[in-house]
């Protein structure tokens, strides 16, 4: 069997329908003008020409999921006595994430260290992860705000995907990266890809140069801890933040969650839902004490988690994949890449509000 494959453009939908027979296929589809990841079906309109508004994290971490159900039962002999039964399901269907960008695939590796590489692996995440194939699409035209190359990625980064797909003139070139990924070559619509290898690799290297590198990074973190620990810095750079949390929900590397119970009569469920560190209640304790009471402290924690705390814990790996969604979708244009360039540049002048000395183009960005 060939070690690469190719799907003709006009066969793509058939290919996805075929994939859907044995697995839930999450693919970027149009909903109005918005591109969102959702389970693909015959009625869906695939959209591969720009990154989806939401990352595919819902395939591994649903926005809301049942951890277990519980059922109270009355003792037939003694009506004052109740017993409880618990039931958890950690068996999940096969899934394919198709057409995600390599940056989003990197997000799953960031989750793996937290959810799987621990002495208490998360059976829900792990269960889905093991049954999911990630088929990433090489990013041909980066979006505004993208900065994957600054955090160690690239539009054709293949390490964290099972398959790398490159869009060419006549169709899609398919390169399995992992053993798991090889299965994709046996889908009937996939033909031998060997004659497209050269064209695909040329396309991949061209795309790298298109990505913006706002802090000329090489994937290594060199944050100024002094500036990071300065309250005034955060008051300056995130004063406009609304604490809406859009950045966390749209982030392929954010994974914080809440656990709540829902009950009706004698039955109920314990539910896990996405949560976000930008919300004041996230750390609010029963006593009223809140260790992160201001948006400045919360934002500092968010940036700290991605660029200092996670790297400290996991061999310097930055927990940001540079997808740029938090920048594109922030309602008040808070820009994490700008904040990082300040923190790395040490040229941030707290007393001088002009952008001349920052080394960063802030013409279009509000400081206040």
């Amino acid at each position: 069997m060939a070690d690469t494959g190719f799907v003709q453009k006009e066969k793509l939908k058939d290919f996805l329908n075929e994939l859907s027979k044995g697995a839930v296929v999450y693919a970027p589809c149009l909903e109005g003008d918005t591109v969102i990841f959702k389970p693909f079906d015959a009625a869906a309109t695939l959209c591969l020409d720009r990154p989806a508004n939401n990352p595919p994290k819902l395939a591994m971490l649903p926005q809301s999921e049942t951890l277990f159900s519980f059922k109270y039962k009355k003792d037939p002999e003694d009506s004052r006595k109740m017993s409880v039964e618990l039931e958890a399901n950690t068996d999940f269907p096969e899934a394919v994430i198709f057409g995600t960008r390599p940056c989003d695939a990197k997000g799953f590796r960031i989750y793996d260290r937290v959810y799987i590489d621990t002495n208490t692996p998360d059976p829900y995440y792990k269960g889905r992860r093991e049954k999911t194939m990630i088929a990433s699409l090489c990013c041909a035209s980066p979006s505004p705000g993208c900065f994957c190359v600054a955090v160690g990625g690239s539009p054709a980064y293949r390490e964290d995907s099972d398959v790398l797909i490159t869009g060419l003139e006549k169709g899609y070139f398919i390169e399995p990266v992992t053993e798991k990924g090889k299965a994709i070559l046996s889908v009937p619509q996939v033909e031998d890809g060997s004659q497209y290898v050269e064209e695909a690799h040329k396309k991949q290297s061209e795309s790298h140069a298109l990505v913006n590198n706002p802090f000329a990074g090489d994937g290594q973190h060199e944050i100024s801890r002094a500036l990071f620990d300065l309250d005034e810095f955060w008051e300056r750079v995130v004063s406009k933040c609304l604490s809406c949390g859009a950045c966390t929900y749209l982030c392929p590397t954010c994974y914080c969650f809440n656990i709540t119970d829902e009950q009706s009569l004698d039955n109920g469920e314990r539910i896990r839902s996405w949560d976000g560190c930008m919300f004041p209640h996230f750390t609010l304790e029963g006593s009223g004490h809140n260790p992160r009471p201001t948006k400045f402290k919360r934002f500092k924690n968010r940036v700290g988690h991605k660029f200092i705390y996670y790297p400290e814990k996991y061999n310097g790996v930055i927990a940001c994949c540079g997808c740029g969604r938090c920048i594109r979708h922030c309602p008040v244009s808070v820009d994490i890449s700008e904040i990082i360039s300040y923190l790395r540049g040490s040229q941030f002048e707290l007393t001088n509000e002009s952008s001349e000395n920052t080394g960063v183009d802030t013409n279009s960005r509000e400081q206040k």
């Binding site: 951890l67 277990f68 519980f70 109270y72 004052r80 006595k81 109740m82 017993s83 409880v84 618990l86 958890a88 950690t90 937290v114 959810y115 621990t118 208490t120 692996p121 998360d122 059976p123 829900y124 620990d229 994974y255 914080c256 969650f257 809440n258 656990i259 709540t260 119970d261 829902e262 009950q263 109920g268 314990r270 896990r272 949560d275 560190c277 996230f282 750390t283 609010l284 304790e285 029963g286 006593s287 004490h289 260790p291 924690n301 700290g304 988690h305 200092i308 705390y309 996670y310 400290e312 814990k313």
Partner: protein
């Protein structure tokens, strides 16, 4: 049900005794429904558990009975929020869930042969109680034991039976205080940090272990420093809002450390290294 591999799935347990400690604190003695789980269950002093009331939710509490007394597990609960209010309505025989043990524990091996100074306020005595009882059950391993404990008023003192017993023992020095004068109270008055200055314990060969409200801890730490206790000889146990209890959900971090998993027990030296705000 035996030990499961799902860290979110609690073990079922039954409340066997409820003790009213103070007007707003109750202690719950519980046993696992599965006798094998009860027999095989092991933990260390200072470790915590998540208590579930199914339909309401979970909250984190220290196991305040010591592993040397395994007839039951005891948790003390102050009524402050949604879950704790419902826990306060539990009776003997009621079913709950427990996820335990979670977190780290007091470095009691390193404390052997040392003088031990416990400084607690209010319900902050709960984690200290575990270690105090553990040390009393292994009394020969430790030097002088002093317990400084305070609350707002005498009725707010927890574990009154224990306090009575410790007061009667010759191998424990118990110093009790309440914030202000109170009818019938003939012991010390004043805040815990102030009383700490008054009794001025020597830092020589001593370890101080403190837990209480954040404001008390703050001043206790300052006063211990004034008494020349070194940061590595000051131990505290922290709390935070927690959900998963296994270092994933993202709430309880101090920098890269999670209170639920890397804590709740930290030395002051560690907290300074993590740049915790205390």
């Amino acid at each position: 049900m035996t030990e499961n591999n799902n860290p979110y799935l609690p073990d079922l347990a039954t409340v066997v005794k409820v003790i009213e400690e103070t007007p707003n604190i109750k202690s719950y003695q519980v046993i696992f429904n599965d006798p094998d789980r009860m027999k095989s269950f092991s933990y260390e002093p200072g470790q915590v558990g998540q208590l579930s009331v199914f339909g309401v939710g979970e909250s984190t509490f220290v196991i305040n009975s010591p592993p040397t007394r395994m007839d039951y597990l005891q948790f003390s609960v102050m009524k402050v929020g949604e879950v704790t209010s419902v826990i306060h309505e539990l009776h003997e025989g009621d079913q709950i869930g427990i996820r335990a043990p979670l977190g780290n524990w007091f470095p009691y091996e390193e404390m052997k042969g040392k003088k031990i100074l416990f400084i607690g306020g209010g319900i902050g005595l709960a984690p200290l109680r575990t270690l105090i009882l553990f040390m009393l059950d292994n009394r020969a391993d430790y030097g002088d034991i002093t317990v400084l404990y305070g609350s707002r008023t005498p009725p707010d003192l927890c574990y009154k039976d224990d306090l009575q017993e410790w007061a009667s023992r010759t191998d424990v020095e118990l110093v009790l205080t309440v914030d202000t004068e109170y009818p019938g109270w003939d012991k010390r008055t004043g805040f815990v940090p102030t009383v700490l200055n008054e009794i001025a314990p020597s830092p020589e060969g001593a370890i101080a272990i403190t837990c209480g409200p954040p404001i008390m801890i703050k001043f206790v730490l300052q006063n211990l420093a004034k008494l020349n206790f070194k940061d590595e000889n000051i131990i505290t146990t922290l709390e935070a809002r927690m959900k998963c209890g296994i270092g994933i959900c993202g709430r309880c971090n101090i920098g890269s450390k999670y209170i639920c998993k890397d804590g709740p027990v930290f030395s002051l030296a560690q907290l300074k290294e993590y740049q915790a705000e205390i």
